[in-house]
Symmetry: C2
Subunit: 82 residues, 2 copies
């Protein structure tokens, strides 16, 4: 398993409820892809959303996000963390 | 205090030692700006580095990074997290 940071652009004005709903949708689907979404951070002003996950691949992360209705714009494996 | 995610581009090939050294440089300077760098993640393949911090402002985050020798390319306040 590796760790990934994915980024969604254009989520300007996202509310706490919308972030929670999107994260819950990911959590409800993640087991089928052996992914775990650990944390998400959102900036409603710029519309950037960052999701940290553990997953077997970037493609598995994207499959969960796609099925949840919010495809990621970038997915980066982050093998280094501190 | 607010939470911020900042992003550095172009750090292709960054090593674990280089990430640790950069993070330590931030930690050694952060108190002067009332900033705390909580975590950093790096993708040596794409050169993306993400830093999560608590700080009074994006400008304070940037001042620490600048003095440490690695100006951030983007700094986003992330008032929403889950």
């Amino acid at each position: 398993m590796a760790q990934f940071m994915d980024v969604h652009h254009g989520m300007t004005g996202i509310t706490p409820d919308q972030l929670a709903e999107a994260h819950d949708a990911d959590l409800s689907l993640e087991k089928e892809e052996d992914v775990h979404f650990q944390h998400a951070w959102a900036d409603p002003a710029s519309g950037e959303v960052y999701c940290l996950s553990e997953a077997p691949s970037a493609e598995a992360v994207q499959r969960v996000h796609e099925r949840a209705g919010h495809r990621a714009d970038e997915i980066h494996e982050v093998p280094l963390s501190i």
